[in-house]
Symmetry: C2
Subunit: 68 residues, 2 copies
């Protein structure tokens, strides 16, 4: 399911940055509980929030969706 795959991919990029869920969520001004549920594939996340996360990760949307 796409939500699971996307959450996994987001998590991988966050790990590359070496920061915690909490720190990352804070850095993009997103509720940490909401953010955690995105990584877990539990949210039908909107394009605005996907963009916010990609920006925080320092990657393009193209890169985020690569292979998905």
């Amino acid at each position: 399911m796409i939500r699971k795959k996307l959450g996994q991919r987001i998590k991988e990029f966050r790990h590359k940055l070496g920061i915690s869920q909490e720190k990352f969520a804070l850095s993009i001004n997103m509720d940490r509980t909401y953010y955690a549920s995105v990584e877990n594939g539990k949210r039908n996340i909107s394009i605005n929030n996907i963009e916010k996360i990609a920006n925080g990760l320092g990657i393009t949307l193209e890169e985020l969706f690569k292979g998905l």
Copy 2:
């Protein structure tokens, strides 16, 4: 703004298929008014609906987001 760019991109791919908004919306079982507003960049569309559209267009999410 990402919603505008995404809507434009979706529209381009639909044009390549040579079908109307109405026909395309019907083919993916999506309300045509909602679909039209997505192409116009007026909706904060969710990942599930983005995937639905990409599937209908016969492209990957990676391809849909290329260059965005």
